[in-house]
Subunit: 438 residues, 2 copies
């Protein structure tokens, strides 16, 4: 086999066999195929696409490029949850402890935030002492012990995916749905969970801005998961306005704790319960998603979700004093409010702008490896559908650099649209793939 | 400017400005843009194409990446001829001396043969002592002194084209008509001639197998040349059967000498005269191509073309004894004949197979840098349209390795098609761009 022949084959619209794809990924991972040939192949894939069999083969080859976790010794269905990335998305922090509390182990490996979307690891690391830099062995032991652990992506898993993504990022080949699906799914496959819940975000604060693209991605990923023998469900959810009120790392931890205490924003609680309900049903813990939701609501009210969250944080070195008294979190130096320009109903809150402002304030990364300031962010005071009067506070910016807070303020003024007529906020969920129960 | 943004721009079907293309080529040539980004860009170009302005800008940037020759001090129209590559194509060896003998200087820079097509330099180097490894200064001095010189492509000219071609060759991005046109034309522009004749071959022994593709390439190249202020004409010519009878380096030198002596194959003489006629007209030496042809036929008959050829060979170190007595050329050890399988008319002689057999015998290169055996090749005894009897010799294989000669024989048996009805051979010329006189 020669890489050149395979590039030309794909360029000319033919499909590659599983053996050919395996050869390409394997050789690339071992440095036997140079970046320039892989770059040409990726651009050919951008134009010609990958069919189902090719996408499966790519996912498998990427997954098998490193260690693959195996939880069979637990003799339980182990669950994993992935979000395609949103603004204010702290659902994992609420849902994972609840699902674990319901007796379904959660083994989550998570990447760090990049671009306008936050990362669960970054949020958790705002808790002093918390570490997600676990070894695979520590991670598996914690899942066994506590039914829950969250580990940062490690190079021991799917190294070829890391190498390939780095190349895609600098060659204009990120935006292909099969490559996106394979990159997400290979990490889920390597992470070893049997039951996978994918939250595919859509809307102005998501990578997939259109519902059709999100649904397409959801379908491709579910197909891959099923073909690889996993229990899998994909839920397409709204990301037009931020989830909850808080955007920013420590600010979101506080909001997650509030939600686990039964005092959080309605949308965060609702979506966590909905997704968790699917997860319990997927794991066979309940008969259907509705039953799962009821079970989780009960656990939430009893406070066992919060207990499980604290147990996880403590087990990974975090100081749970901060969870019991969130006022201990360092506060940003500057708090500046954004006010309503007129009376009316909030029609739109541009999640993408909030995400970008959070990065600007220092709460996210422009480049891999950038330091994160856990204290900064934005807290909404109103959400879409609310009635506001002129001068009402719409949001409060938390920042540590006066100039940047000024820039953020100017920007966020345009993030709100106020109209005369009342509007319903977008639904939380647009669709479930496959139609559930599956 | 960032390479990534320009890759995405081209990928998305937008056109690049001349400044952007210049930036890309310049930076790539200086190693500031890595191969993998250029490979992704080339594949995007493969799918999205380049418009006229982009192709011109690419040609200019490639031409200006190295030295650009300037013949203005000669105060004459200097001519150059290029063939897109054929089998048995020794036209340059006949036409160039005739044109020079007519008083139009010929300054030809030529690549070496690669793949199934031969190279003029390789053929000339079968004359002991001959060297095409001239410095730019030697080359220009010879053009001034003799009105003719042939130099091998040097890295001082169009280095970015060499680098880009090497990358295209291993990334499946050779087959794009704009990239092909720019790669040919940048070398012609840098070589400094004011009058350029392009012989675009089409047929089963050519890179451009279809007439439409050949005509399209001819048009693109003529447009580039005109936009860059050159006198230029492109002639689309036949390459279904080999040109003349001989395929192989020393064998073709002998045939060129025979043609310059008025005793060569009709097609070689005819095409050399036709193309030379265009060249004289292009250079303003005659009023039209027909007048040019008459002039060249006269010179051919007087033998001054052969004298000019000898002068060129001698000036470049070649031993002209071999031209005066071609029996001095070393002969291949094995001569094996291919016979007609039945009586009938020769309908087809597959030029591509002849080209590939010549390489197999050692007369061409599989890889850059392969040594060439000047003595090997194939000599046809009949051409398309000839009537043959069963057992008649159709061709004679000249080889130095008995096994390989055997393989060549098996292959060439299939290179001939004999039918019952008489056929006309394909016309020598399919079209001229622009319609001449222009």
């Amino acid at each position: 086999m020669r890489a050149l022949d395979l590039i030309i084959k794909k360029r000319d619209g033919e499909s590659l066999s599983p053996e050919e794809i395996n050869y390409l990924i394997n050789s690339y991972n071992r440095g036997l195929i140079p970046d320039y040939q892989m770059a040409a192949l990726l651009m050919a894939v951008y134009f010609q696409g990958l069919n189902a069999s090719e996408t499966n083969a790519l996912t498998a080859a990427l997954a098998e490029s490193g260690e693959v976790l195996d939880f069979t010794s637990l003799e339980k269905i182990v669950s994993d949850k992935h979000s395609s990335g949103g603004v204010g998305d702290k659902i994992t922090l609420v849902m994972a402890p609840l699902v674990a509390a319901a007796g379904v182990p959660v083994a989550k490996i998570s990447g760090r935030g990049l671009g306008f979307t936050g990362g669960t690891i970054d949020k958790l690391e705002s808790i002093p002492g918390f570490s997600a830099e676990l070894s695979v062995e520590q991670f598996m032991a914690l899942v066994k012990e506590n039914d829950i652990a969250i580990m940062a992506q490690t190079e021991r898993l799917t190294p070829a995916d890391g190498k390939l993504y780095t190349l895609r990022d600098v060659t204009g080949t990120v935006e292909n749905i099969s490559l996106i699906a394979a990159s997400i799914m290979c990490k889920k496959i390597a992470a070893g969970a049997n039951a996978i819940l994918l939250d595919v975000k859509t809307g102005r604060g998501a990578f997939m801005q259109s519902k059709e693209d999100a649904l397409n991605l959801a379908e491709i990923m579910v197909r891959i998961g099923k073909d690889m023998g996993r229990r899998i469900v994909s839920v397409v959810t709204d990301m037009n306005q931020p989830l909850g009120y808080a955007v920013g790392n420590a600010l979101e931890i506080k909001e997650a704790v509030e939600t686990l205490s039964g005092e959080g924003p309605a949308d965060v609680e609702r979506l966590s319960i909905i997704l968790g309900g699917y997860m319990l049903a997927l794991a066979g813990k309940v008969r259907n998603a509705e039953e799962g939701q009821e079970e989780l609501l009960k656990l939430l009210k009893k406070g066992v979700g919060l207990q499980k969250f604290k147990q996880m944080v403590a087990s990974q070195g975090g100081n749970i004093d901060y969870l019991e008294d969130p006022s201990l979190f360092p506060r940003a130096k500057f708090l500046v409010e954004v006010h309503a320009p007129r009376e009316g109903y909030l029609r739109e809150i541009d999640a993408m702008r909030f995400g970008k402002v959070a990065v600007l304030l220092g709460g996210g990364r422009y480049y891999k490896g950038d330091e994160i300031d856990p204290s900064v962010g934005v807290v909404l005071k109103h959400k879409v559908g609310d009635k506001v009067k002129q001068g009402d506070t719409l949001a409060c910016i938390h920042g540590n650099d006066e100039k940047i807070v000024g820039v953020a303020h100017k920007d966020l003024v345009h993030a709100f649209t106020v109209g005369d007529e009342q509007v319903e906020p977008s639904p939380l969920v647009y669709g479930v793939v496959p139609p559930f129960p599956c």
